[in-house]
């Protein structure tokens, strides 16, 4: 078990390196000069030269990459071109907001997803199943920025119950009020996907021979539910892990709709301002989140499913 964990951790190193290469080259492959946005068009040539040197952009790309990587590993992602503040500081602040939003959205989405999915599986083919499956389908197919706008119109504009813009400040309660609408909006996709996963996994299990066998042993429904839950957990956990990953990645659209100062909003700003160090920093940070999250899900799976441990 310990060896398995070590091996899984070692496996993530090449993945992380590959991710770093991709996210460095992605930005440099994009057309346009990264510094054109900050350098005035009529600046004298020597000033332009000095700025390019200051950002190290006169050196060959591989050298730039290793220099960047070397600093990134030490936690230095450079300075934002637009604000002049350290990239890590900008990202750190945004991450906090996105994390809170993701947590709230995941809590809502997973709770209802598991509830709805289990309900649908137990009442397969009946009206409650059809209703819940319909909700799940709506959750995954509705464009969530549109849903966000709709919620803003209803709850902020017409009813005036909740604020619609910004991250809020001051007391906990005030901040929470700002969180409600974006969290509900963000929860729809994970809710739909978790519902569908739970429904199909649990339905498969309920129809399987071993559940018949459990009933033949005289076990009651709570014991059977326990068996089914432990069997469904690896699949459902994997899906929830990935969904949480997507949430942590932040949603450019939803965060922009609500002006929620998270990573999605920051990424959006960085793209439009062609703020290369910030952009690279955000992409790298978010990718590393995914790598770490996948690792965590894998490890959790082995905890629940002894069959995974074998290989």
């Amino acid at each position: 078990m310990f060896l398995y964990i070590c091996r899984r951790i070692v496996y993530t190193i090449p993945i992380a390196l590959a991710v770093a290469v991709v996210c460095f080259s992605l930005v440099h492959l994009a057309p346009g000069d990264p510094l054109s946005a900050v350098i005035p068009a009529d600046a004298p040539a020597e000033v332009v030269e000095r700025i390019i040197q200051a950002y190290g952009m006169d050196r060959p790309l591989p050298v730039q990459f290793f220099a960047w990587l070397g600093r990134a590993v030490q936690g230095d992602l450079g300075f934002s071109v637009a604000t002049g503040r350290p990239v890590t500081q900008e990202i750190g602040r945004a991450l906090g907001y996105t994390f809170v939003l993701s947590l709230a959205a995941a809590a809502i989405g997973f709770l209802f997803g598991i509830l709805f999915g289990t309900l649908a599986a137990f009442f397969q083919g009946r009206w409650s199943d059809k209703l819940v499956t319909g909700i799940a389908l709506f959750g995954v197919s509705v464009p969530h920025y549109w849903l966000g706008l709709l919620l803003v119109i209803i709850f902020s504009v017409q009813l005036d119950w909740l604020p619609s813009l910004g991250g809020g400040s001051g007391s906990w309660i005030n901040r929470a009020r700002y969180l409600v609408l974006p969290a509900i909006t963000m929860s729809f996709i994970p809710m739909g996907i978790v519902t569908r996963t739970v429904r199909s996994t649990v339905a498969d299990l309920l129809g399987s021979e071993f559940v018949t066998s459990l009933r033949a042993r005289g076990l009651g429904s709570s014991r059977i539910a326990n068996h089914v839950a432990k069997n469904a957990a690896p699949t459902v956990l994997a899906v929830m892990g990935l969904q949480f990953g997507y949430l942590l990645g932040g949603s450019i659209l939803v965060e922009t709709v609500f002006s929620w100062p998270g990573t999605g909003y920051l990424l959006n700003t960085a793209i439009f301002q062609r703020d290369i160090p910030l952009l690279q920093g955000i992409i790298l940070t978010l990718s590393m989140f995914f790598v770490a999250l996948n690792l965590l899900v894998d490890l959790l799976q082995t905890l629940f499913d002894p069959r995974v441990r074998r290989n």
């Binding site: 399987s208 021979e209 071993f210 018949t212 066998s213 459990l214 009933r215 033949a216 042993r217 005289g218 076990l219 009651g220 014991r223 068996h227 432990k230 069997n231 629940f304 499913d305 002894p306 069959r307 074998r310």
Partner: protein, 331 residues
């Protein structure tokens, strides 16, 4: 002698999207205490459905069961859910065909056995584990203490089936249902598991219903035999009588198509032409008639009451003239 299992006029119908499936029709079964009854038949003949009905394991809202089922003095079809699950695994237990599928893959085998003991005897986890160990020894699993902590996928096929038997017998059931317990196993392991079942049956004084499609296995384990075809019992009686003097042409066909102990080595095997019937309608005539070498026009009329003696029964309109006619290939 008292019958521990009595089934009268059992009919099982499944409702599917394509209509009703008449899986089992008018089945009568008697099982005396300490005896073994073999249910013999090919796939889809209704033998497993009959077995699962004895424990009411079919999904209730898709299944219609009529008739009466008495197990150990209890009217199974009248039991409430609570009494039903009290009975399952305690008075009547089942060994499944494919132990890999019948064990929960993510729980340790020993814990699954302990769980059943805890459920029915209200004992502690430790006591349940002790019983599990005792049962593993009982079914001759090597190094049983170590195997308690094994997961089902860590065992070989034969060992898994032994563990399944240990699980089924953990609460000392009076009736054991074995649903093709040797079908998924290697030939050499099959014999071991058969012998084990027979040994344990004597040791525990259980009655057993043994479902199989293998005539040789039926001869090996059973006292009584019931041959099923198209959801009905076509022939029933003591196994040695039925095997030496089969009345029904289907039983004759089965015997003519299989190798079994003490057969004449010069005999050629003859297969039964055609395929088993579809059960999407209620078959009132002889279901075997389309494949039967002795069939005449009257065989397509509704079946008359079965031909019956004290010990034996067969459902064929052409009895007694077709009795004992084993199919022989011309050499």
């Amino acid at each position: 002698m008292d019958n521990i299992v009595e089934v009268r006029d059992l009919c099982v119908t499944f409702k599917t999207s394509e209509g009703s499936v008449y899986a089992v029709s008018n089945v009568n079964l008697d099982l005396a205490e300490g005896k073994t009854l073999a249910l013999l038949g090919e796939s889809g003949s209704g033998k497993s459905v009959t077995m699962k009905s004895l424990m009411r394991l079919h999904p209730p809202h898709k299944t219609q069961i009529t008739g009466s089922i008495q197990v150990a003095g209890r009217d199974v079809l009248a039991l409430g859910n609570r009494e039903l699950s009290d009975m399952r695994g305690k008075d009547i237990a089942m060994v499944f065909q494919e132990p890999m599928l019948a064990f929960d893959p993510v729980f340790k085998v020993g814990d699954q056995i302990a769980e059943v003991v805890m459920r029915h005897e209200g004992c502690s986890y430790e006591a349940g584990r002790d019983r599990a160990l005792e049962m593993m020894e009982c079914v001759h699993i090597p190094s049983p203490r170590k195997r308690l902590d094994a997961y089902p996928h860590e065992m070989s096929g034969g060992m898994r089936q032994r563990a399944m038997i240990a699980l089924a017998l953990a609460c000392r059931p009076t009736v054991l249902l074995a649903d093709e317990p040797t079908t998924a196993l290697d030939a050499t392991v099959q014999i071991q598991v058969l012998l084990l079942l027979r040994e344990l049956q004597r040791e525990f004084g259980m009655s057993m219903i043994f479902v199989t499609h293998d005539v040789g296995v039926a001869i090996e384990v059973a006292d009584e035999i019931a041959v099923m075809y198209g959801g009905r019992i076509v022939e029933q009686g003591p196994v040695d009588e039925v095997m030496t003097d089969p009345w029904h042409p289907y039983t004759q066909g089965l015997l003519g198509a299989t190798v079994y102990p003490n057969m004449d080595p010069a005999t050629r095997l003859v297969s039964i032409p055609g395929a088993p019937p579809q059960l999407y309608r209620q078959i009132t005539e002889c279901a075997f008639a389309p494949r039967c070498p002795h069939a005449t026009d009257e065989c397509h009329d509704p079946l008359p009451p079965p031909t019956q003696t004290d010990q034996r029964m067969a459902r064929c309109i052409r009895l007694p003239e077709v009795a004992g006619a084993l199919p022989r290939a011309s050499v």
